[in-house]
Symmetry: C2
């Protein structure tokens, strides 16, 4: 069986519509998408696509004097990419101005790559004193436009601050610079028998500082929990240059307000994280993957409950996929389905433990139990690493195939688990009732599918279309957001707000909560220079 990653390459063009507001990393390794000539020719600047967003005139425009200051501070080598006093850097600037989906594109003319916390501090103090807006940038793998400028904000890229500075092999505490690439950190830990408590498709590019800033969720949350629990300390720099020295390396420390938590998920709007201290768990030598079919979402819930009970401490993933999503994977890849029959729902269960025999016994006994009770109708258990990867391909391949036939409306949401799939059914019914869904060409919508991290109550609702059609958008929004709000769900489970969801936050947060958040923003960044136009 060919791996999905090799079997096809996708080319997206978002220049004509607001389709595909986000793309799920956790469901597939990101790859750089080729941009069509049409897109570039038309100029897909964020400022053009979102004409309602105006440049804040309180911010100064860059001058040669500003650039001279930064060159004096960082040297005139590669730490400063200067498009202000020279045109030579135009090409170099492009990759810092655009996100990897090429959905957002800014007009930044200056990129700074500090090599130390002290340099970050001096940069920010100068920017704050001179009203220069900045965008902190890690691996630039975000999905909501949070890591690229909208206008001429200076990009502060952390890639040079990538050192692993400390590791305690008894406690499992790792200390590293914010610019350290997640996969580099994880590979370092693998050599020590430990694992980074976070995994996501972009691991080869994303920075751990960016992971913290976006409170990344990913594939291991079910097992290792949220970063709010595993991060022990951070070092960060506030807008005025103040260094927040909270790089604690201890599991227990009850000495005052836990300020570091505010920076986790703040998307660089109240400070720039420069160092990270994190508790890393033991790496599990044994892994198993099972894939099975079920007849209803009711049974999926029962299977999840049984997996939690019987697999308990070794359960490391419980993923949900509906038949619609699997039919698309089959159609696009041509791969043979893992199960002979077709079922309305499929689940992928992964275990990670310290003893392969014990884990296999638990997983087999679980599968026997759920099949005997009629909860699961058919299933398969991977026998080796190749088969494990192949089964994961049916889950990880979904985001790739969804865009194969046109654009996709994608929603990354959290919903109380019992109502999770209802959202897909209600959305499908609504689009169908509007006459937009069908197998023939006159229907703009091909399929409404759902999949996601069942273990985290995190649904990816996807509407796969043949072409952009304004009627689809009108049927979807604000319906989807209202539906989520009524059930106290979250409009952003793991991707964050960035530019994409800033205007929708009211569906998940009350005006009181928003007011309290704005107080925090004002407290730490009174001039608003940090990542403007985004977040709340």
């Amino acid at each position: 069986m060919a791996t999905l990653g090799d079997s096809f390459k996708l080319v997206h063009c978002h220049c004509k519509s607001s389709i595909a507001p986000c793309r799920c990393f956790s469901g597939g390794r990101p790859r750089l998408l080729q941009q069509t000539a049409t897109c570039q020719a038309q100029g897909d600047f964020t400022s053009t696509k979102y004409p309602d967003i105006k440049r804040d005139d309180r911010f100064a425009r860059l001058t040669p004097d500003h650039v001279a200051f930064f060159k004096g501070l960082l040297g005139s080598g590669s730490a400063v990419i200067d498009g202000v006093t020279s045109d030579a850097a135009a090409d170099d600037l492009e990759s810092f101005n655009s996100d990897w989906m090429r959905k957002y594109r800014g007009h930044c003319q200056l990129v700074l790559k500090p090599g130390s916390t002290d340099e970050v501090s001096k940069i920010l103090k100068y920017c704050n004193d001179n009203m220069l807006a900045v965008v902190p940038q890690g691996g630039n793998t975000g999905l909501v436009g949070g890591s690229v400028p909208v206008f001429d904000e200076i990009v502060i890229n952390l890639s040079r601050m990538d050192q692993i500075t400390e590791f305690d092999d008894v406690s499992g505490t790792l200390v590293a610079g914010a610019g350290c690439i997640l996969e580099v950190a994880d590979q370092f830990l693998a050599g020590k028998g430990y694992i980074f408590p976070l995994d996501l498709g972009a691991k080869g590019s994303c920075h751990i500082g960016g992971n913290l800033s976006t409170n990344a969720g990913g594939l291991r949350l079910l097992r290792y929990g949220s970063l709010h629990g595993s991060v022990l300390g951070i070092e960060a720099v506030l807008a005025d240059g103040t260094i927040v020295d909270d790089l604690c390396k201890l599991r227990k420390n009850n000495t005052g307000y836990d300020l570091k938590q505010l920076f986790i998920g703040a998307e660089g709007t109240i400070g720039i994280i420069t160092k990270v201290s994190i508790q890393c768990p033991q790496r599990s030598p044994a892994q198993n993957v099972a894939f099975f079919g079920l007849e209803s979402f009711e049974q999926v819930q029962k299977a999840f409950r049984a997996a939690k009970g019987q697999l308990s401490e070794i359960l490391s993933a419980f993923e949900l996929m509906d038949e619609g999503s699997q039919a698309l994977v089959r159609e696009v890849t041509g791969n043979r389905r893992p199960l002979d029959g077709q079922y309305p729902f499929y689940c992928l269960v992964e275990t990670s433990g310290s003893n392969a025999d014990h884990d296999s016994e638990k997983l087999e006994s679980f599968l026997e139990d759920v099949m005997e009770k009629g909860i699961v109708l058919g299933g398969t258990l991977a026998q080796d690493e190749t088969q494990r990867r192949a089964l994961w391909g049916w889950r990880e391949g979904i985001p790739e195939v969804l865009g194969h036939f046109g654009g996709v409306y994608k929603y990354d949401v959290s919903i109380p688990i019992k109502q999770m799939y209802q959202m897909v059914e209600d959305t499908r019914a609504r689009i169908d009732a509007a006459g937009l869904l069908g197998d023939t060409d006159e229907h703009p919508v091909r399929a409404v599918v759902g999949y996601g991290h069942m273990g985290d109550s995190n649904l990816h609702l996807n509407v796969s279309t043949r072409r952009f059609d304004e009627r689809v958008e009108k049927v979807l929004e604000p319906f989807v957001y209202e539906w989520i709000a009524e059930r106290q769900g979250s409009i952003s489970a793991e991707h964050g707000l960035g530019l994409a969801k800033k205007k929708y936050i009211g569906y998940s947060r009350t005006p009181t909560m928003l007011g309290l958040m704005k107080q925090i923003k004002t407290l730490y960044d009174p001039n608003g220079i940090l990542n403007p136009y985004k977040y709340i």
Copy 2:
């Protein structure tokens, strides 16, 4: 073997000294200590013991008008205990004025027991408008004087807000009032196959709101992590009556600053937590306990590393005890030691898993391995629940026996794991060098011992004395705090700051961090009415 809890009762009297600044709950079930007549006659008010702390004159004194307002709001029944307009309530007030150790005692004349968030909001708004200081109080089981008044602050006791309002048996999300007793919540969850992700000795009395407010650590942190990771949402009320509606029930929610985190561990100084939403893990049906002896702290570290590697996902406790602490347990209880020989160090390892056979096999194989390698010199494995309890008795009994022969200086600290026991050795050497340590009566110090949660790098350093002697205190402080500060440890691992450690926070936090914390306090409680005289 008699359980430790039945074999003796301790009576402490702290009125003559500042000995025993704290007492470790996680090392033993708390029991109400009898107060001697002498203590009461001498009047052990906090204001007398700490004459440097002055009542803040900005705060109003309670008048009958104030009381009338609160009775109008809450009714004149048991929700208001009024010592302002009547002397009849004096006895009732005592238990709200004193902590369970009888170490701290306030002069409060009014206790309010709101029954709803709305009532808490109206109380606080009134107090804020009228400059009335308040102390939020849960189960009043704290160890640092955080939950009782110093002067005439109003006690707002949350005990009536104890309802479990919601439980999702698929996701394991529990929602309950802040006044819900931890053990009640845990028993409710046990009936559903789940467990509260926190356990501590005071579980029969402490409130989950208080657990969050103090960021309680306890016995399950090694396995289930910090409350910062498991708490999904809170509802809280700010000083001005604003209700912070952040009662999220979702595992993933990236929509703005995670403000709830500030309230976890804030000890009631920026708001009162009224409701809690928390992610509860699956309860493990199988438990095992092993107890073994080792020749050095170097070997303890090796054993811990091996336990993490081989027991991995089933490891639920790894506790450390030195020979000094075990000799005291033996001396006071008269119980037969679990091992035949004596060793410089002992460890207790607990596993919790879903399959008893698998877990026993893993634990036995681990023990064989560490004994074969000479890491562990002798060990025993509990065969049933009685033996498990007996082995735990040698760890949980330590705090009880320490005070048996006089007073105890107790320090609850976090230290990077490799240097953890060095603190005990350095302290012992220093006391010995000062001629204060010895077996005979002229030496005030009987023993300097160390024990604690090795898995969390959390040491309990204890100096057991025959009597109070000023020289001991001078040798200990600030030495102990300086020692911790030099190694970037924490002066409070799990007990919090309260009144006891407020003045020492500078040893664990920089002036910059303290300044940032004070900003937060001012932001949420500009009049300073919430739990004054304490924390930072």
